[in-house]
């Protein structure tokens, strides 16, 4: 059964441990879900590129048997293309092999065709052809600290890439290496973790080695960043030169998610988890928390969310769209996905009982026909 979407169409791509599902909606409240694509492969990363007059969905795909690769679709998942020799391949002199693509991040509108990727082993890549072929960032790969970067439980990866308007300033985050910054478009990198505690290390205030889970930039305030760490929620107002805690008012300072508003200054979302010993929503009650004043205060948002939820939400299993008002989306390791069309005030369930949700991305798109779409909540094979 097809679903012809209107001019006000939205696409939500859901990457799970066992495949990709795609949802479309005219209003971000009712959704039609199709899938799975890439059944039995995990989807650890998704990028939706709406530049250049088309919607390109890029996905990192990883099979336990056949390894990692990157596919893209320009027709909302009807067909998928994979570069014959692979989009991301370590040069032979590195003696490294790609394990997993953790991040696919289209650059700014002003730089069409440029797409960044963060990968495991810890590495950053840049494409100039829309994500079909990537080149290894040698500045970070050859960094003298690389041997000392650890591996978070999920793997050693560059999992956050934050780009600025000029293209010169780039921040990356890696667990357990911390935040690194480049001011020359990625040629050279320096750690920027001052003020962030690493209580699990002999020196709790090291230059690098912090366990950062996610970073995001404030779209309206130059130099302002937010970080969700393994214990600790922080803000920087000076391009990560220094960080200060903004965790007061949250029910827990642990979590993986850090989202920022696409336009409005000071607005960010986190999804707190109780840790270290529990790693579930505090008291088993799921809630998103939003600040509208750059972390000075937080508002609990749980309208439409289940009363009890014992699954965690992973770092890329949440996103915002660029619509007005902004949409907020997240998925749980229990396979439920929720969407809000009003910045988190109210959520509706998009789909449930999927495999563990690893990542989701949403975007407003041109009028589309979603082949094989089904009624929300009944996702199955397309």
């Amino acid at each position: 059964m097809g679903c012809m979407a209107t001019a006000e169409s939205y696409v939500l791509a859901i990457g799970t441990k066992k495949g990709l599902w795609l949802a479309t909606s005219p209003d971000r409240t009712s959704w039609s879900v199709s899938g799975p694509h890439f059944l039995m492969s995990e989807i650890p990363s998704i990028g939706i590129d709406t530049r250049e007059g088309r919607t390109r969905i890029l996905v990192g795909v990883r099979s336990e048997h056949w390894g990692p690769t990157v596919f893209h679709s320009d027709d909302l998942g009807e067909t998928w293309t994979e570069p014959e020799h692979g989009a991301i391949r370590f040069p032979s002199d590195t003696e490294a092999a790609l394990e997993r693509v953790w991040q696919i991040h289209p650059d700014a509108e002003a730089r069409p065709g440029v797409v960044w990727a963060g990968c495991e082993p810890i590495s950053v890549w840049k494409s100039t052809d829309g994500g079909e072929h990537f080149e290894l960032n040698r500045g970070l790969w050859d960094h003298p600290h690389r041997d000392e970067w650890g591996a978070g439980f999920g793997g050693a990866a560059a999992h956050s890439i934050v780009l600025d308007r000029t293209g010169e300033k780039v921040h990356v985050a890696m667990s357990t290496g911390g935040v690194y910054r480049s001011l020359d478009g990625g040629s050279s990198w320096e750690p920027r973790n001052k003020g962030i505690s690493a209580y699990f290390m002999p020196d709790p205030n090291p230059e690098f080695g912090q366990c950062v889970h996610k970073i995001a930039a404030d779209a309206a305030v130059d130099g302002r960043l937010y970080a969700q760490n393994h214990h600790g929620v922080y803000r920087s107002d000076d391009d990560a030169e220094s960080w200060e805690s903004i965790a007061e008012g949250l029910p827990a300072d642990f979590g993986f998610v850090m989202l920022t508003h696409p336009r409005r200054a000071g607005t960010a979302w986190v999804i707190p988890l109780k840790a270290d010993g529990e790693r579930i929503p505090p008291e088993g009650k799921l809630a998103v928390h939003r600040t509208d004043d750059a972390g000075a205060s937080w508002k609990r948002l749980d309208a439409g969310l289940p009363q009890a939820e014992f699954n965690s939400i992973l770092r890329d299993a949440a996103c915002v769209d660029a619509a007005e008002p902004a949409g907020v989306y997240f998925g749980t390791r229990g396979g439920s996905v929720y969407a809000s069309a009003d910045e988190g005030e109210h959520f509706t369930e998009v789909v449930s009982h999927l495999p563990d949700v690893l990542c989701i991305r949403a975007a407003a798109v041109s009028p589309v026909s979603a082949p094989g779409a089904m009624a929300a909540g009944t996702a199955g094979r397309a």
């Binding site: 336990e64 048997h65 056949w66 390894g67 994979e82 020799h85 003696e95």
Partner: protein, 95 residues
Amino acid sequence: MAGISVVLPSVLQAFAGGRPVLTAPAEQDVSVAGVLDLVAAEYPALSRRLRDETGTVRRHVNIYVNGNEIRRLQGLSTPVSPGAEVLIIQSVAGG
């Protein structure tokens, strides 16, 4: 010329033009790596699923030469004679 047969599991045949068996030309013994290099030259997307960028056979890919798993032989250096069969099977694993 006898050639060497490379037998593919069904899930990989799409990366070899839908063919269940590939034939690598051989007039004398070649290594398993050599056989896979011949495959890679013609079907790079298939090759990437068997070996990573370093040339290492992926962990859950099993390769048999005339019924013997190469990890119990000489690995990628295992010689393959003309007329032999190289069988590729994925591990039975996962959840």
